[in-house]
């Protein structure tokens, strides 16, 4: 049933993708009329007397950036549903939570009303808590609560900023305060003298109010991305979660963070985003290098993949920080690509874990001999992830770095050494992926569990192949024809870059 639901969803999103119009007139970002598939229904309209009316709309719509992530999301959800075959206990509960989560992530990518965005954003937490906590591994309680507390910490402060923004912004048409994100992007809609108004230069505890707002929102999303040093929940959550949940976590949840930074931080606080771009870039570079170095040191396959996610998401931040068309396109591309790749990697890690309930990298040796098909897919996934040209990750990383290099000459936000360090991250990525591959798959067969494991480690079955083949194909296709993504996002990215330059 859940599989059917996700398939229908995929079908719908592909239909939307095909019908998605491109062209300068559909840039989105800060023009309400340029979003597509908009649905705007009044939701909460409260008359609060002296304060005017409270206006919260059910306002969803898509632009280039959200459409690409939406398609990726629905695809990953199908894979996750397929991976759920390994769940044996309490299926009803699992799929109820799974579909709630599905609704929440889709909602986040579509909503253009900050209140609605926040509701969906928070709604992800509870199902995930139970999904990790009830079906997870040995340390699942710890991992689940850590994840929950981290994210809630970010989002309650986001709530404060959201309320602040709401009280500063007035809908020019109705004259009410509004949560409409598109209108929050227009400085003219801010009430004169309000806390977050661009012109009034208010301060909070001696710091510029807008800077405080930006930093708070950035921290909330940085926890999700995750950006070093706020990443410590990620290895625990990813390792302890069951495979389908790891897939959703790595494939979709991390993108919510990146998407939030683009949609909220950058678009609502463009002035601060430009001023602080250096620090964003720096955090991005630190994430790339720190994540990669940690991945090198891991002994657990899933933990290694989790740290590689930290590293790869660093490229996203670097690309966003560059604020060039290339960088932001690269960041979105990297998010899409990483969505598919991390799905594939976690699925593959799940395959081996299901068979022998062990993921220690040094507990396996010579898997290529007993599981040739599995090894083939693993090689594709590893090479794609380390940025081999021809695969999607290459395009994403290359464009992010290109943006970072170009940034120095275009807008002077990021120095050259950041891009250089980012490139070093790719090198480290190659190191840990290749080294893992060499340790696990090549050489003589030597398993920790001996002969018992050898019989247990059967090659891929049909379901697993059905799951993996489309993933591998998509990664390849996106690498060869990046225009599939770029064509859709280009107008939005250009509009965003123009918007940022205009503001800063």
């Amino acid at each position: 049933m859940a599989l059917l639901a996700t398939l229908i969803q995929l079908g719908l999103s592909v239909w939307i993708y095909c019908n998605f119009k491109t062209g300068a007139a559909f840039g989105g970002i800060n023009h309400e009329g340029q979003f597509q598939f908009v649905q705007k229904l009044p939701w909460i309209n409260l008359d609060l007397g002296a304060m005017g009316k409270m206006q919260i709309d059910y306002f969803v719509g898509l632009d280039g950036i959200s459409i690409s992530l939406l398609v990726m999301t629905s695809f990953v959800l199908v894979i996750a549903a397929l991976a759920s075959w390994e769940i044996k206990s309490n299926l009803k509960g699992f799929f109820v939570l799974f579909l709630i989560l599905d609704m929440a992530v889709t909602g986040v990518f579509c909503s253009l009303d900050f209140f609605l965005f926040y509701i969906f954003y928070e709604l992800m937490l509870l199902p995930l808590y139970f999904l990790i906590g009830m079906w997870g591994g040995a340390r699942r309680e710890y991992a689940a609560i850590k994840f929950f507390l981290y994210t809630l910490f970010g989002s309650v402060f986001m709530l404060l900023v959201m309320v602040g923004l709401y009280l500063c912004v007035k809908d020019p048409v109705t004259g009410n305060h509004t949560f409409n994100m598109v209108q929050m992007m227009n400085p003219a809609n801010y009430q004169l003298g309000s806390v977050f108004s661009v012109l009034s230069h208010q301060t909070i505890f001696g710091m510029s109010a807008r800077a405080v707002g930006f930093v708070v929102l950035f921290i909330a999303f940085a926890i999700k991305v995750p950006v070093v040093p706020l990443h410590t929940w990620l290895p625990d959550a990813h390792v302890e979660a069951p495979t389908p949940v790891s897939i959703i976590l790595a494939g979709i949840l991390l993108k919510v963070g990146g998407y939030g930074i683009i949609r909220v931080c950058l678009s609502i606080f463009p002035d601060i985003a430009s001023a602080d771009a250096y620090w964003l870039g720096l955090l991005g570079v630190i994430s790339i290098l720190y994540g990669a170095l940690n991945a090198l040191a891991q002994k657990d396959l899933k933990r290694m993949i989790a740290y590689s996610s930290v590293s790869h998401m660093g490229f996203v931040l670097l690309g966003i920080a560059s604020q060039t068309a290339e960088g932001i396109s690269g960041a979105v591309m990297q998010m899409v690509s990483h969505g598919f790749l991390s799905t594939m990697l976690f699925f593959l890690a799940g395959v081996i874990y299901n068979r022998v309930h062990d993921r220690g990298i040094n507990h396996f040796r010579g898997l290529a001999i007993i599981m040739p098909q599995y090894t083939a897919f693993m090689i594709i996934a590893f090479f794609a992830s380390l940025g081999l040209p021809g695969f999607s990750a290459f395009i994403g990383e290359a464009f992010s770095l290109l943006g970072a290099f170009k940034s120095h000459s275009v807008n002077g936000l990021l120095p050259y050494w950041m891009a250089a360090c980012g490139s070093a991250g790719i090198l480290l990525g190659a190191a840990y992926f290749l080294w893992t591959m060499q340790r696990m798959f090549f050489g003589r067969v030597n398993l920790k569990g001996g002969a018992v494991w050898q019989t247990a480690l059967t090659d891929l079955n049909l379901r697993e192949k059905i799951t993996l083949v489309p993933l591998a194909l998509i990664v390849l296709i996106l690498g060869l024809m990046p225009s599939l993504v770029f064509a859709k996002i280009n107008d939005s990215v250009l509009a965003l870059v123009h918007f940022l330059q205009f503001k800063s």
């Binding site: 304060m51 509701i119 929950f148 507390l149 309650v156 208010q202 505890f205």
Partner: protein, 520 residues
């Protein structure tokens, strides 16, 4: 005793002066008569109280069911009367309220809202009392308890309307006496007897302190009416330190009911020791009414421009911050469900004080909404605590292990209720928090007081802390495996039905807060 003596003297003096007052009598009678329409819900409550009491006396032990039916039906009638009072205020075109009984009581829209909430919650509680197995096992039966509850609701109504220091005191005493009886109604162990005694002693002490404060205020200003006479004007001219002292004493009396820090120490023991439904009563109704009372008490001071002696906003903000921190952090350490909920209710008091600090119309309606959401969720949580105590004998967190899969409906409801208490979407608790935050924020935009920011930051931080302990219940229900021998499956439908209704309402209010927020 001394207190009653004082009353006696007061009244006998009045009798002697009676003949001087004769010319004024018709006017007073007219005043009383014209006040009666504004007093209809309370008259109904008084009649209901007598009817339940008499039924209990006439039919004795067999009348428990009958008492319950009468009490519930009566409360529904009272709710209906409350509803009519909205029209009454509209009809007389007095949107800011109407004084009656020679300015002893004041009926405002805020008061009606609070009465409405109190009565609805009281109705739920009346249903719920009989479903607690331990309480139900009381040899004398519950029919007395029903009349006590009706009596207490009568007092609570007074609290929401009191506009004179005398009526403030009377109302609080009326509620206190009812709650002493309820807390000590059934004592199952030494610790719960101790809790009952503690409650009486602390309650008596705090009301004595409050009375002392009131007498000082009277001495300073020569007036008892909060709105009439020259209480505030008179106080503004007295030495600020002395006035502050008297006001602090009165606040202690109100604070005892609100249970804010530092007068919260009685809460954990009493909440844990009392029967669970009584805890549900204690943690919601008197608290909600005390907030209404606090509003009535503060209003004249806040709106008197020359008032400088005691900055209520500042001190309440400080108390709010400390209360939020103390309540929430202490709750983290608790193992007993009721004790944990007790500390968490202290934390909620702190959060609600945040809305009082603004004292704007939006702030007050946010407060009303927040308290309604809190009351409903807290009753739900304690009802479910009763449920698990009934079916599995579980009172500590450890005993909840693995019960989630055995009693899925109740456990899912528990999660929803706790999510609402934490304030995560999509529940009434979240929208309540949102309204309070936005009220405080808009107040902050007017005066840029850093203390308000600090309040909001504390509110946000303690939300995270509160998640940490609330989530322990689902953690034990679902995530931990039971390590004891499975006890036999016991069925208990009523509480589940109640919990499901409460959960649905909480979620519904989370999605459409306008259902009640638009009306308050």
């Amino acid at each position: 005793m001394i207190r009653y003596l004082r009353w006696y003297i007061f009244y006998s003096l009045n009798l002697k002066q009676m003949h001087d007052l004769l010319p004024f009598l018709p006017e007073s009678i007219n005043n009383v008569l014209s006040s009666i329409p504004y007093f209809m819900p309370e008259i109904y409550l008084a009649i209901l109280f007598v009817v339940v009491l008499v039924t209990d006396l006439l039919f004795g032990r067999d009348a428990i069911k009958l008492c319950r039916i009468i009490a519930c039906a009566g409360i529904l009638l009272v709710i209906h009367r409350d509803y009519q009072q909205f029209d009454l205020l509209l009809f007389t075109a007095e949107p800011n309220g109407h004084f009656f009984f020679t300015q002893m009581l004041l009926l405002t829209p805020v008061a009606i809202n609070f009465k409405f909430i109190i009565d609805v919650l009281a109705f739920i509680l009346l249903l719920y009392f009989a479903w607690d197995d331990k309480l139900n096992a009381h040899p004398k039966g519950l029919s007395d308890l029903y009349s006590i509850i009706i009596g207490s609701v009568f007092g609570l109504h007074f609290m929401t309307m009191a506009a004179n220091l005398l009526s403030v005191y009377l109302a609080i005493e009326m509620v206190s006496i009812a709650s002493y009886l309820m807390v000590a109604y059934r004592s199952e162990s030494a610790s719960s007897t101790e809790a009952g005694l503690k409650y009486v002693l602390f309650g008596a002490a705090s009301s004595a302190i409050m009375l002392f404060g009131i007498s000082l205020l009277y001495g300073f200003s020569g007036s008892l009416g909060l709105y009439s006479g020259n209480l505030v004007i008179g106080l503004a001219q007295v030495n600020p330190l002395a006035v502050s002292f008297a006001l602090v004493l009165v606040l202690i009396g109100i604070g005892f009911k609100l249970s804010f820090v530092p007068i919260h120490f009685w809460v954990p023991d009493v909440y844990q020791g009392a029967s669970t439904p009584v805890t549900a009563w204690l943690s919601t109704l008197p608290k909600i009414a005390a907030f209404a009372l606090l509003i009535n008490f503060l209003r004249p001071f806040i709106f008197y421009n020359n008032w400088t002696a005691f900055d209520f906003r500042f001190y309440l903000a400080i108390i709010g911050i400390i209360t939020m921190i103390a309540g929430n952090f202490a709750a983290v350490l608790q193992k007993n469900i009721k004790r944990m909920l007790a500390y968490s209710s202290i934390g909620h008091t702190g959060f609600a004080l945040m809305a009082i600090v603004t004292f704007t119309p939006t702030g007050l309606s946010a407060l009303t909404y927040y308290l309604a959401a809190y009351g409903l969720a807290n009753i739900g949580a304690l009802a479910l605590a009763t449920y698990f105590a009934n079916v599995a004998g579980a009172e500590d967190l450890d005993a909840y292990k693995g019960l989630g899969l055995k009693y899925p409906a109740a456990s899912v409801c528990f999660v929803i209720v706790l999510v609402s208490l934490t304030g995560i979407p999509v529940t009434a608790g979240f929208t309540g928090k949102l309204f309070v935050f936005s009220a405080v924020y808009s107040f902050y935009q007017q005066n840029h007081n850093a203390l308000l920011l600090l309040l909001m930051i504390t509110g946000a931080l303690t939300t995270v802390v509160s998640l940490f302990y609330y989530i322990k219940i689902p953690l034990n229900l679902f995530l931990k495996r039971s390590d004891t021998v499975a006890n036999p499956f016991v069925k208990s439908y009523y509480i589940i039905a109640l919990a499901i209704c409460i959960s649905i309402v909480l979620v519904l209010l989370g999605i459409f807060p306008g259902l009640i927020m638009g009306k308050i």
